[in-house]
Each structure stands twice: as structure tokens, then as C-alpha cells.
């Protein structure tokens, strides 16, 4: 049956198709749905690990025990897991081991842009890169075979546009359950292959280099790479999503489509060069193929034409190809006749849209803004933006609101709560890699920074990378305060369970870790728990902690309302009382709309948390909650 799957769903499906019985990962956009999709297939076992390194270590154990396993993470997650990755490259897996990594060119939801293909050369392992969902599923199988044939882990690289695009593939009508081996398994001990002590590791390094040579020879005629013959003027080298853009822009060129992004097939590059006048490499982010091809003495072009930074698109490839003279400009489409405006609105609204200035036809007039009224034509590039902000009903908001009022210096971290930095809250002042905030605040405290410094971290981030720096504060006699914003879920990436949630990825009940107990066990004696919506309590406790010289932990606990689907009636504004003083607008909540002399609440977007009711100094926002919520 033909179905549209996202790239992520297809990779998860491909793992199942390959008979891989285990998946371990840590969430991260744009990779998250890979493991989520995989976990839905019959007979598989999937786990969210506490971080990517843990995930890869668990995967290593599964592989060492002889089973196929795959591991999922976003690009920066691979940095966290890199130490373990380099290690398993040396020792080699037993059961096939594939690490599925999704990059985020354009940084739609990441703190940096990095090109995971570089890990191929750096860590010395093959990197496979599909170009659509069908290849996502198919290449998974190839990746497992490659892993077992050459005894190496393999990276499966995706990017946002592949992970989140839906493209068609044939899927099985009926799913056969996998049988993960749950009976007792005897470990095949091989310390000389699994302990990289120098005497072993020196041998392993030579073996790894030989494997890379063997795989590049294999790459010359493997099914992952192919030449698509076309015209003799241009030879395009591309892989993954960039191949799709290039296909749109150069319909008549000869293509070398790479499915194996590392190691590279040198003979195929020479073959391509022999077929065409000019080789051009279209690759998003780093010039990896280009450099390799140039080292072969082939005068390929690439980054002199296409940008190094940011995400590609068909139009970006077209614009740059045009500027470089590789293609000709397309004939502009000419429109016939004046535009037609069809008004399906009630009369008063209909008048508003046409501005009452003549009929709409001549409003469009010359298209230069000289047709209707005296206002200049809007420029789409300068329209007011709609930057991300904390969701309506988010319980992170009250904490940031009070921190802002207290003028605290906030060392933030990564999660939904990074948006505490967004205007109008402007309540966060730094943000680094996951878990960094707690280490950073301790560093500033050591130097003597005293302006109400505090680290703020989410629950999932706390379990991911917050534990070592927290114990470090206690051990090194630090004085910092750490606030854990505990919404009991990994919200930012779409609500994945974590050790505070109470169940596993497979839906089994599991122990809930008490963050307060962890802090006490680490040596913190000043530990408090807060309900974020209790404004007076939040003010009192935060002030107390920020002004104290004792190291301390505050846990602000409220379940993510998108997760629990908690929703209440939106409050309304009493127009007699509201004087648009701006207080509620300062909490940064999208449904609160500034109408000039009063505010209004959009009842479609509003979640009914009533925090605006709480902060309004004139009692002008009136609760409509029936549960006796905030007054």
C-alpha cells in the first residue's frame, strides 16, 4: 500500500523492516519522531535514555550482546555521545549498530548548525544519507548490512526538511511482529576486542583505517550511489535533500547521487568528470564532497557558487546557479487581465478589506502601490513578526515573570523555557548546551557576581545534563540557586516521557524520581517546592532563595497543559475597569491583545490559566472558570 510518511517515520519503519529489535534515543528536533514511530511497530523495544551518550552506551550493550540496534538523536546530541561513538568505532559492534542523526540546517529549532557528515571522517565510520522517505526506509536496511559486513557502526544522517517532509513509499499491508530475544543470552566474551587498552587500541586503529579503505572500494558500485546520465555540459554531485533541489533546477544534467556520504567513491567521481564538461557540487552546509573531489585533481565547483551557511531550497539553488551562469533565466509568467476580488464577507467587513477606495480591481492597479489610498504598499519582509513565545497556559511563565520583577540574573538552559528570554519577559540572560547553566552560574559565583544569580533548568534537561553540575556545586561549596522548572515531561520536543514522568516510552509504569530528594542526597539542605501559579508564594520563596548565601534548589512543579490537555474557559475583560495599564501585556501571552484603550482575550488561543487574572492590578480581567481557579 502506498502511504505518505515523514522522513522520520520512514527511518523508524526502516529499522523495523531491517529486523532491528531495539531502539534507544534521546529526543531532539528534528529527530524525535524516528524513535516514536519505531516504537509503534509490533515486537520492538524502544527506550528514551536520559541523554544521548547513555543512549549510545545502551545501544553498544545491545550490539555487544549480538542484537541489531539503532540509536536516535539530533545533531548536537551526537556531540554528547561522541566519546562513546569514537570508542565503539574502535572496538566495533557485534549486532548491527546504526546511529540515526538529524541535522538542522537553517536552525529551525537548534542552537547551531553542524554537518554530521563530518563525523564520518572525524570518527572514521560510514555515513548514509537518504533523499526521501522511500530511501529513508530502504537505506536503513543497507546501513545494518554495512554495519555487520564491515563491523562498524554506521551513521544514518537526515536533515529537518527530510525528517519533516512527507513523501510516498510502499508499506506492508500487514505487519509481522519482530521477536526480540528475551530469553537468557550468553555473552560472547572478547576482551581483546572490547577493551581499547593501548596494546589493543593500536591494532584497532589500523583495523579501522583498513575498514575505511575497504568501504570506499565497496562504495564504487554499491546500490547507495548511482550515476543518472543526462547532458554532457554539467555533472552535478549531490546527496540527500540537496539532490531534490538540484533535480528541480538542473533537469537535464548528469547526476552523481550519493547515498553514502562517507567514505567517498573516488572512481565514480572520475567517471562523472569524464562524462561532463563541468562538475558542480550542490551540498548543504560543509564542502565535504567538493574538497574530496578537488583532492582528486578534478576542478569541481561548489561553495564558490552556493552558500556555506544556512538551509538550501530550490529557489536558493536556482538563484545561485543563475548568478554563476549555470542555467538560463526562466521566462516570466505573464498574467492576463486585472485581478479579481471575490468577497464572501458580510457588507461591513467587505468595505474594510477594500478600504472603500474605489473597486478592488483598480486598487491593484499598477502593482506599485499607486492604486488605492495614500498608504505605501506593504513590504512582506517588514511585516510584524510572530516570534515563538511561551504557550498560553504555560506554567514556566509565572516563574520568569517573578524573576524579571526581582531583576534576577538568570542562567538559562535549553527547552521551552529558553523562551523566558523572549520579549516582553526578557528574563533569561544566557543559554548554552544542555545542562550548561548550572555549571556557568557556579563559575560566575566563584568570581563574585552577586546580582541575584540563578540557574533555571527543565526537568528533562536536569536528568540529561543537570546532575553532574549540581553535585559539583555542593561538592565545591558553591552558593548558587538552581530552579528546576518541572512540568513532568520533555515538552519542547513534543512530550516525551522522562524519569520524572512516571512511565516509560513503551507506556509501562516506572518509578518517578524525586528531584527534591536528589538535591538533598547531593548535599543541598535548602530545597523548596512551588506551585508556579501561587504568585505570593513564588515571590516570597524566590526572593528568599536569591538573597540567601546557601546553595539551594527550588522545584517549580506544574504539569505541561498541552500534555495533560488541561484547558479552562478564557477570562473576559471588564471594559469599565481596564485602562490598558500594560501589566498583563508584560507577561507575554499571545491571546492577550492590545486594543489601544483596553485589552481583549482571544478565546481560541487562550488556555484559561487565569494568570492574567492574577496579575491584573485593577481586577479588570474576570475569570470564567467554573472550577474556582484563580480569582
Amino acid at each position: 500500500m502506498k502511504k505518505l510518511l515523514s522522513g522520520n517515520e520512514a527511518i523508524g519503519y526502516g529499522a523495523y523492516l531491517a529486523g532491528c529489535g531495539y531502539g534507544v534515543g534521546y529526543p531532539g528536533t528534528p529527530s524525535t519522531e524516528i524513535l516514536q514511530s519505531y516504537s509503534t511497530y509490533p515486537g520492538v523495544h524502544a527506550e528514551w535514555a536520559t541523554n544521548e551518550k547513555v543512549a549510545l552506551d545502551v545501544a553498544t550493550g545491545i550490539s555487544y550482546a549480538g542484537e541489531r540496534v539503532f540509536c536516535t538523536m539530533k545533531h548536537v546530541g551526537l556531540n554528547v555521545a561522541a566519546d562513546s561513538l569514537f570508542s565503539i568505532v574502535f572496538t566495533g559492534p557485534r549486532g548491527g549498530l546504526v546511529v540515526a542523526v538529524a541535522d538542522d540546517p537553517g536552525m529551525h529549532s537548534s542552537q547551531n548548525e553542524q554537518d554530521t557528515r563530518q563525523y564520518g571522517r572525524f570518527a572514521k565510520l560510514p555515513v548514509v544519507e537518504p533523499g526521501d522517505s522511500a530511501e529513508g526506509a530502504e537505506f536503513m536496511r543497507a546501513a545494518f548490512e554495512l554495519s555487520e559486513q564491515f563491523k562498524t557502526p554506521v551513521i544514518m544522517r537526515s536533515v529537518t526538511r527530510l525528517s519533516h517532509s512527507r513523501t510516498p513509499l510502499e508499506v506492508m499491508d500487514e505487519l509481522v511482529p519482530l521477536h526480540a530475544a528475551h530469553e537468557t543470552v550468553k555473552y560472547d566474551r572478547a576482551p581483546s576486542q572490547q577493551i581499547p587498552l593501548p596494546m589493543n587500541a593500536r591494532r584497532m586503529h589500523r583495523e579501522v583505517e583498513q575498514k575505511m579503505l575497504d568501504i570506499s572500494a565497496w562504495a564504487e558500485d554499491c546500490e547507495l550511489n548511482r550515476i543518472e546520465p543526462g547532458g554532457s555540459r554539467l555533472g552535478i554531485v549531490a546527496s540527500g535533500i540537496a539532490y531534490q533541489y538540484a533535480r528541480e533546477v538542473f533537469p537535464d544534467a548528469t547526476f552523481l547521487k550519493l547515498g553514502l556520504a562517507y567514505p567517498l567513491p573516488n572512481d565514480l567521481f572520475h567517471t562523472l568528470a569524464g562524462m561532463v564538461d563541468q562538475v558542480v557540487v550542490v551540498e548543504e552546509l560543509d564542502p565535504i564532497y567538493e574538497h574530496n573531489i578537488r583532492l582528486l585533481g578534478i576542478p569541481a565547483r561548489g561553495k564558490d557558487i552556493f552558500p556555506l551557511c544556512g538551509e538550501f531550497s530550490t529557489e536558493l539553488v536556482r538563484e545561485h546557479a543563475l548568478a554563476a551562469g549555470l542555467i538560463e533565466a526562466r521566462v516570466p509568467v505573464s498574467t492576463s487581465g486585472a485581478p479579481i476580488v471575490i468577497n464572501g464577507l458580510p457588507e461591513d467587513a467587505a468595505a474594510a478589506v477594500s478600504g472603500g477606495a474605489g473597486d478592488a480591481g483598480d486598487t491593484a492597479g499598477d502593482g506599485n502601490g499607486n492604486g488605492g489610498g495614500d498608504l505605501a504598499l506593504l513590504d512582506p519582509a517588514t511585516l510584524p513578526g510572530r516570534p515563538p513565545m511561551l504557550c498560553p497556559g504555560c506554567a514556566h511563565r509565572p516563574i520568569f515573570y517573578v524573576l524579571q520583577r526581582l531583576r534576577a540574573m538568570v542562567f538559562g538552559d535549553i527547552g521551552c523555557y529558553t523562551l523566558g528570554a523572549a520579549p516582553p519577559l526578557n528574563a533569561t540572560h544566557t543559554c548554552g548546551a544542555m545542562g550548561a547553566g548550572i555549571g556557568v552560574v557556579h563559575g560566575t559565583d566563584l568570581v563574585g557576581v552577586k546580582d541575584r544569580t540563578v540557574a533555571v533548568i527543565g526537568d528533562s534537561t536536569f536528568f540529561h545534563g543537570g546532575l553532574p553540575p549540581l553535585v559539583n556545586i555542593a561538592y565545591n561549596k558553591g552558593v548558587s540557586t538552581v530552579i528546576v522548572l518541572d512540568n513532568r515531561i520533555t515538552a519542547m520536543t513534543g512530550h516525551q516521557a522522562n524519569p520524572g514522568t512516571g512511565h516509560t516510552m513503551m507506556g509501562e509504569e516506572s518509578p518517578t524520581v524525586s528531584i527534591e530528594a536528589v538535591a538533598r542526597a547531593f548535599g543541598f539542605s535548602k530545597v523548596d517546592t512551588l506551585d508556579p501559579y501561587d504568585l505570593d508564594e513564588v515571590r516570597r520563596v524566590l526572593k528568599d532563595h536569591l538573597d540567601s548565601t546557601e546553595p539551594s534548589v527550588v522545584v517549580a512543579r506544574y504539569n505541561c497543559v498541552l500534555q495533560t490537555k488541561e484547558r479552562n474557559a478564557a477570562p473576559h475583560v471588564d471594559l469599565e475597569l481596564c485602562n490598558n495599564c500594560g501589566t498583563c501585556l508584560n507577561i507575554g501571552c499571545a491571546p492577550i491583545i492590545n486594543r489601544g484603550d483596553h485589552v481583549e482575550i482571544d478565546d481560541i488561543l487562550c488556555n484559561g490559566c487565569d494568570y492574567c487574572v492574577t496579575v491584573c492590578p485593577r481586577d479588570a480581567i474576570v475569570s470564567n472558570r467554573t472550577d474556582g481557579g484563580e480569582e
Binding site: 471575490i342 468577497n343 478592488a360 511585516l383 513565545m389 498541552l562 501585556l585
Partner: protein, 200 residues
Amino acid sequence: MALEKIDFVLAGVGGQGTILASDILVEVGLEAGYDVKKSEVHGMAQRGGGVESQVRWGEKVYSATVEKGEVDFLLGFEMLEVARWIDFLKPGGDVIVNRYRIPPPPVNMGVAKYPDESEIQRLLLTRAGRLVWVGATDVARELGNAALSGVVLLGVLASDLGMEHDLWLGVIERLVPERFVALNREAFSRGTAIGAEMLV
């Protein structure tokens, strides 16, 4: 005969239902025999941020993302969001826009102004061949659920495309939870009715 390519962009605000609407559009394309691809980026800001879905139908589609100046249909769930995409419309393409405004944070903070409808109309008409104004959210509210506005817009689009309504209804029935099917059918027919009246 080769199928002609049709590109769609659906633009709105997170929580307005653009994703469901684009899922429906995808399935309708598949059933009509097209090669179909869809792209959307999600991540930050689950609610209240700008969201967009791109759907491409064609004989053979390579890129899942649309190209500037090539889009055949712009479907605006919110006026400001559709205005942002105008450069993507091919000259003479169709714009179907819900007359509904959700002022973004800079407007609420008083550092930017939400353009008037007439200004938005003038901008859209610099490229649109046909501009259809619909009060989709008002219709949806009448039906008792503002989240239905996307399906109302799809109804208008279906009339505009001149495709079998049953094809759409079949897909809606498959994709929507059972207890909402009747309401969604109603929303769709309200859209097709508006479309039929206006697009003759």
C-alpha cells in the same frame, strides 16, 4: 496525459489547524492520482507562533518545498501570515484568505502596527489573479468550533479547484476522529457553498 503540477501553501498561527488541513490536501492529491509531497517545519512554539505547510501535487515531484513565485494556491488562516507568503505566489495565482487577525507580540507590545485589511488586500493583489475573502472563523464559530475554520477554507478551495466533493469528504471522514466527522462535513459544505456562490 501528464498531470499538471499544483503547489499549495497553507499559512496560519499554531493551534489554528493548518496541519490537519494540509494532511487532508495530501490525501486528496494522492487519491486524485498525483505524486504528492508535503513539508512543514515544527519545533519551537507549539501555540501562537507562525506555522506553514507546503503541499505539492504533480506528475513527479522532487522537492517537498515550494519555490518563490511558483505557488498556485495560497490558503491564509490568518491575514498577516498569508501576507508574508505573497512573494511565493505565482503571478495570477489564487489567494483564499480567512478574514481573521491574531495580532502578534510586537503589535501587542505596541512596537509594530497590524496592517489594515485594505493594505493587506493591496499587497495580495500585487500578485494574485484571484483573491477570495472568507469569514471562515466566523462560519466555524457558528458551527460551534473555531477549529473548523481550516475545513471551511478547504471547502472554498475544493470549489475553486473544481474537484469532486466526494473525494474530499471521503478523506475528511478517514482523517477526522469519528465524533467530529459530522461537524467537519458541515464545515466543508459551508465552504463549498461559499465557493460555489462566489467562484462562478
